[in-house]
Symmetry: C2
Subunit: 151 residues, 2 copies
């Protein structure tokens, strides 16, 4: 996280998150750094589909047909948090932290989206571990993914 | 947290957070419990004043006159997240996690707001420790405060 913060400071980049499965842990890591308010504007934790639809403008049709845990939802929420919070970077997480499967997707299925400049990239991970470990691993992977994209 | 989750499950109560100084850690604790999506709808992490004003409807006049770290901001953000996310409970944090003082308020100054039924209560804490410890202590105090209110 320190290496990533250094790049964000140096390049004067701002960031916002749309977190689902990570439930706040990704924002927690981003705000552990002194001075993080220079790059971090805020997040929407969109745990329920109601919040994904009303605040992050994910169409109900997508939630119904693709599911909340999908590449499409990761893509739309990353793009829309960037737009709503007017930041350079929007980062999203959606997945199954467990202990139960969701939408027929197994525990550990994770999608991470990053909207930066005019592109949005999504990665699909399959993680192992208990609920808390999956939240932690997904958050750290999101930061690694971002670091490699902007370094 | 387990005792609190039990009450939320038993009473079918839903919750949303407006987190400033805790930066996501409060939501992380709430979502560590399996099945937490039954009570937790989501949060807005309103780190910047722009987000406090645009999304949580804190008047600019309040931010200017009272400061972001104030009883008034804790009260308004708790009330408004409850209303926006249509939950039974709205819980907010605002404070100075450090390492530097903010708005002439010392490190460790924390306000926690809870909107429940037609009342909003705010507590004012003075915590000690480094940045991460203050985020953790403030989040745990918020959960304790909530537990005592709804138990």
């Amino acid at each position: 996280m320190k290496k990533l913060a250094k790049i964000l400071f140096e390049k004067n980049l701002t960031i916002a998150c749309a977190e689902s499965c990570t439930g706040g842990f990704l924002s927690h890591l981003l705000t552990n750094i002194p001075g993080s308010s220079r790059y971090f504007k805020g997040s929407i934790i969109c745990y329920s589909n109601q919040i994904k639809n009303e605040f992050l403008k994910v169409p109900k049709k997508i939630l119904k047909e693709k599911g909340a845990v999908s590449l499409e939802v990761a893509k739309i929420t990353a793009q829309n948090i960037k737009k709503l919070f007017r930041t350079h970077i929007g980062i999203s997480t959606t997945g199954v932290a467990g202990p139960s499967a969701l939408e027929n997707k197994p525990v550990g299925t994770i999608f991470i989206g990053i909207a930066f400049k005019n592109k949005t990239k999504v990665i699909h991970l399959k993680l192992k571990g208990d609920r808390i470990k999956i939240k932690e691993k997904a958050s750290k992977k999101a930061l690694e993914f971002l670091y490699n994209l902007i370094k």
